[in-house]
Symmetry: C2
DNA sequence: GCTTCCATGATCAAAATCGAAATCGCCACT
DNA sequence: AGTGGCGATTTCGATTTTGATCATGGAAGC
């Protein structure tokens, strides 16, 4: 599923143009992205939780030379699936 | 950031009522949830990728008794942040 | 439809996380 | 205001994540 498909699903349910639907998707992802970049946690009950967390490990590997490479400081975004998504049946 | 805040951000940008904005958020999360439950991967360039993956670890622990417990079959949802979210500066 | 730029895969090794369960507090959502 | 999802807690070890780099498939912009 890609952005266009999500927008399509949206316009199939609500009376909006595909262009508007795409704007909506972009807007929401953008807002969420900003919030996460701002260190804010996003919680959507029934869906999941996005949480920015500090990256602790500082060691990587250069595949070309095979030698260890220091990984600079940073954060990572963790997504924790909500109840509905955790109760997945193996089909 | 919670659902209402996302909806508010939406209605501040597009001419929609808060009720409609909430419907949009619910619709999108619902659609994405269904796609993930269906084993489909969701990729939004610039934001991130949701990917259902089989859970391989099959050993847990009962904190009450302290004994090992078999972890039943299942999947887990992994979210991989896109480029914009990976390049986070530690503030 | 074409172009552009992003995401994936592969590699390696170490450190960190996940997973189960039960219970309580808190807060998102109705 | 009421409900129930979610975090936190503990335990322990196997799975996984994490980065660099380069090539390729593909999402998204035009």
């Amino acid at each position: 599923m890609i952005k266009i498909e999500i927008a399509t699903a949206l316009m199939q349910t609500l009376p909006v143009s595909k262009a508007t639907a795409l704007q909506v998707v972009d807007l929401l992802t953008d807002r969420m992205k900003k919030a996460l970049l701002d260190g804010e946690r996003i919680e959507i009950r029934g869906f999941g939780v996005f949480e920015p967390r500090p990256r602790k490990r500082g060691l990587g590997r250069n595949i070309k030379t095979g030698q260890s490479v220091e990984i600079p400081k940073g954060k990572s975004i963790r997504f924790k699936a909500g109840k509905d998504l955790r109760d997945i049946e193996v089909k």
